[in-house]
């Protein structure tokens, strides 16, 4: 599952994911983008509110629904995109 969301919400999202029981997640910086709202870029910004981050979360399929719900409870009213794709995790014993 990959979620692109506004930076000020990062902690709220990761807290929600943790509560929903994910074993881990990874946050990637995003340097710019465009969507319905506007085109933006991180260069020169000083406001942590200006940017987005991408949160990637590998999880078991049966946990997915509760995760999506958790993610949605945070993302819902905000700018952002949630997508899910199949991935096989090699060290699966962890999950």
């Amino acid at each position: 599952m990959e979620i692109i969301i506004e930076a000020p919400l990062e902690r709220r999202l990761t807290d929600a994911l943790t509560q929903a029981g994910v074993t881990g997640y990874t946050v990637l910086p995003v340097s710019g983008g465009s969507g319905r709202s506007r085109r933006w870029s991180r260069s020169g910004q000083i406001s942590p509110g200006g940017g987005m981050v991408a949160v990637v979360c590998l999880t078991r399929p049966d946990r997915l629904d509760s995760l999506i719900e958790a993610a949605f409870s945070v993302v819902e009213r905000h700018i952002g995109v949630v997508s899910v794709s199949d991935a096989e995790v090699i060290r699966a014993d962890r999950f």
Partner: protein, 327 residues
């Protein structure tokens, strides 16, 4: 009047303003000049630390007096009150919806620390002293306006504001903590501390401010360029009138508290300025339906350049005329 004009011209051809103009022009010419985010944030950390420390060292030198408490009180009242005035003015001038008006109002109750810093450097250029604790007043004005905006929303019933943990986040946001913290460090270590760090925070200050304003010009220019129509004539008018209105309240408050002419100019500047760091981040959390393009373009693209180029000289001239005898 002649003095205002001379002040204004002097101000306009200072390296600081011209750097901002350079950034603005580069953005409009679609130059790819840009500052890495980390550099821009590094510069802002420097400026906050330096201005806080200088303020604290100033207080250490002159001693704390009742003025500090009174000024903080006045600052907080201003920050709580100005959003209501902004909200009313927005109602008269624009067609933004309630949530957006409240979000914009929060920005104008809060402050822009770079505008404050630019004003202190104009004062220093003129040899006007100001109370060191004005920095504390700046910090005190960052947050209250957000509460007023949320209160407006709650009363109007239009959409709930998600505020869990928000107050804590806002009160402890990076710039407030850095500003108040370095203010305290300056106050505790005083003159002796100042000596050890002056070569870092005093001498190169103006130059760093130039680079920072160059970056601000780029960001402001791009936000104006990318969102030309979002404000409408009414919105732009608001962005020019509100600082003047705000500064008038700042002048009133400064008179009540009995600030020096330098301090008066700074309180006017604070009241006139609009946030573009702390409040936008809070609004993304609390009022996500409000469009960032509206409030960022207004505060960064309209009011910030207005204050920098025209506002500060006006406030300084007004302050020296009215509060001149007191300092």
């Amino acid at each position: 009047m002649a003095e205002v004009l001379s002040l204004a011209v002097d101000n306009l051809i200072s390296p600081i303003i011209l750097s901002f103009v350079l950034g603005l022009s580069a953005a409009f010419l679609r130059s790819q000049l840009s500052f890495p985010e980390a550099v821009a944030r590094g510069l802002s950390i420097y400026l906050l630390f330096a201005i806080g420390f200088k303020g604290g060292a100033g207080v250490a030198e002159h001693g704390i007096d009742l003025g500090l408490v009174a000024t903080l009180g006045a600052a907080i009242v201003l920050s709580f009150g100005l959003p209501f005035i902004a909200y009313a003015l927005l109602g008269a001038l624009t067609r933004f919806n309630t949530v957006e008006k409240a979000a914009v109002a929060a920005h104008y109750g809060s402050i822009s620390i770079v505008t404050f810093v630019a004003a202190t450097s104009v004062l220093e250029g003129r040899g006007l002293a100001y109370e060191g604790y004005m920095v504390a007043a700046a910090a005190a004005m960052e947050a209250p306006a957000i509460m007023s905006a949320l209160w407006i929303i709650a009363r109007s019933g239009s959409g709930s504001a998600a505020a869990t943990g928000l107050y804590r986040e806002v009160l402890l946001n990076g710039s407030i903590v850095l500003l108040v913290g370095s203010f305290l460090i300056g106050m505790i270590t005083g003159e002796k501390g100042m000596e050890t760090v002056a070569a870092f925070i005093v001498s190169p200050f103006q130059g760093v401010l130039c680079l920072f304003l160059l970056d601000m010009g780029l960001v402001a220019g791009r936000s104006l360029r990318d969102n030309p129509a979002v404000l409408g004539a009414g919105g732009i008018l608001f962005g020019l009138l509100m600082p003047l209105l705000g500064s008038a309240f700042g002048l009133l408050a400064a008179q009540l508290v009995g600030l020096s002419s330098g301090g008066t100019a700074l309180l006017m500047t604070l009241a006139a300025s609009a946030s573009y760091i702390a409040v936008p981040a809070a609004m993304r959390v609390a009022l996500p339906e409000a469009r960032p393009s509206v409030y960022l373009t207004l505060s960064l693209g309209v009011t910030f350049p207005f204050n920098l180029a025209v506002g500060i000289p006006i406030y300084t001239a007004a302050a020296t005329m009215i509060a001149g005898g007191q300092s």
